[in-house]
Symmetry: none
Subunit: 209 residues, 4 copies
């Protein structure tokens, strides 16, 4: 009987007897965390006590579900549903613009970005958090980018020797840096368009070409 059986009461739990975890508490906690972060509460400000209070739940009820603050915030992060944009049938440029601009939209009210900013610091010494961060946030976006770029290569629109990984960094880096590191708002899709156009066409002047 380990001291913490986090998520032990998840579906498929073999135990017999005992009260079930209240699924409403799960939701209330995550929502409370998100709400607080959205209200300008930094990662460090966000205390477990505050979250529990806001969720109308005892502190232990939070700890029963998530080992610590990072895990909680990460879960809150993961609980945001991330709408995948419709790319079917769009031309390559528009696909890429949609994907890049989606990064901006995912942080409604800049909540997500603040949240990510908070995690960045903690992540410094917790490699597994970085991994989870990658899985949760980066991975699926990555796949969408990979697909769009591969199609571009196959269709001949993009160079055959394109380094896809590198290309993804090129496309996502500017937006991420702007939103999370420099914490500046991006108000329109113009930023994404500009990034994609530079990415596709480069910046050399090509008069005679």
């Amino acid at each position: 009987m380990p001291p913490h059986v986090h998520r032990a009461a998840a579906p498929g739990h073999p135990s017999r007897g005992g009260r079930r975890r209240d699924p409403a508490a799960d939701r209330a906690i995550l929502e409370a965390a998100l709400a607080l972060l959205g209200e300008g509460c930094s990662f460090a400000d966000l205390s477990m006590d505050l979250v529990a209070q806001r969720a109308g739940v005892a502190r232990a009820t939070v700890y029963r579900r998530w080992r610590n603050k990072e895990e909680l915030v990460l879960a809150a992060l993961g609980s945001l549903d991330l709408p995948v944009p419709h790319l079917e049938g769009l031309p390559l440029r528009d696909k890429l613009v949609a994907l890049v601009d989606q990064i901006r939209h995912r942080g409604q009210d800049t909540l997500l970005h603040r949240l990510l900013a908070g995690l960045v610091g903690e992540a410094a010494r917790r490699p597994h958090l970085v991994e989870r961060f990658e899985e949760t946030v980066v991975a699926q976006r990555r796949r969408a980018f990979e697909q769009a770029l591969s199609e571009g290569v196959e269709s001949g629109e993009l160079r055959a020797d394109l380094d896809v990984d590198q290309a993804i960094e090129m496309l996502t880096g500017p937006m991420l840096s702007r939103l999370i590191l420099r914490q500046r708002p991006v108000d329109s899709a113009a930023f994404a368009e500009s990034v994609v156009d530079m990415f596709l066409n480069g910046t050399r002047s090509r008069p005679g070409r």
Copy 2:
């Protein structure tokens, strides 16, 4: 006798009388902070007590100089001297590669990047920290980029309608995102070269070449 006249003893201070702040203490404290951060101590782990102890100084002596941990770390950050690379006479591509790759070098041992990562979270709710961050770290790099890009435009190598701000995001974003947000090492200049080449040439296939 204000309770906190931080940095009051800075150069040019008009006061007469009173013991001067020991400049050795300033250095010792900043170095201690940097050393600890460099040794894998995260922003949250870094306690004022630890810094003071390492610096061989009383805790109050730290607080006399910096109001709190964030201010201290920011100062430590600013105290890193940032070598400006020699760009004179280099072709545009090499200039840009040097500038982009310098971002990587500035965080020797990833110290600076860890440090920045730690600040990112705190900065979320302290706008003035973001500003200071911009001034301290971003501004002078920005100027170097601006100059190189402007020269490129003037020489006709870059498009006349280039949006310089946007271009800087394109060049620095990928590296920053990789080093700070995703906390992945970048071992060679190849990354910077790749970024610059994509930036200059774009990624479209160009059959006529």
Copy 3:
């Protein structure tokens, strides 16, 4: 969730739920405080940290029970059990001597008197401390004196117009002043006897008697 509900877990507390305060901690803390004071540690020397350490308890555990040092010391003071002397059947003079001399005995090892001396200074600006001091230390002694003196009046041994309050001051004042203010030891019951005899007989020479 009030920040400080000191003594909330006292007997008769209606709350349900929540871990009970460890009564062993209460005792350990009070004993630690008394021990330290008894070992020659002055009121100012007595640090909360030291008390907690000696009691084998976290500092917060002390603060959870008593708001600050004064409250703690006062509680420690109150925790001394004060043996009430057997007065039944004694002649008036002996009753009074026993009561006056008890003041001396209550501060075994002068612990109590040192303690009181320490409180006197703090009490200067905290009226409620003076009140608590009265309740804790003075009140029950007062009642014993009142009873003895009233009996003396009723039996005709003492003047009918005796001002009882004043009389108590007369009896206790000299001993208190000597022990606490002047901090001089009183080694035998002779002092008490002398006080009582003067109190009863006065000091006028009475040749004709």
Copy 4:
């Protein structure tokens, strides 16, 4: 050249050369201390910084004169001029009442008593302070009492076997205890009269009178 040459620059100082200590500072400091204590500032509240500030003097100037807070407060205490009441020609009872009541008057505005209360605590562990307290406050009063009582014995008014020391405790103790320990105001001379009358006549009922 000892680190502290307290009071070295007092009148009669043999040194040659160097600036003289400003006697106005002496006064200003003592007055500041007394004023603060009089305004309800307890001994613990009274910080050297506050005193210096109020006196319009640097903190070091205070320390140059008195080694620490206790010494300063004690000096402030001593600086109060203590009017000796005119006893010449009064009957014994009136002499004693005047002396006892003088204890009350000496603490104008209860300043002195608060001050003494503050010292009591510190004195617990500083024997020399108690001594100085005795010298400063107790001694000269003691002599006045001794004289009055001796005269009473010689004149036959008081018992020949009177223990003078004990008698002084009897007379002063109640007032001191009331003013300093219990911190209760005494508004009229009635208290002193009552003390003296009990002292002289005792409290036994005396049917033949």
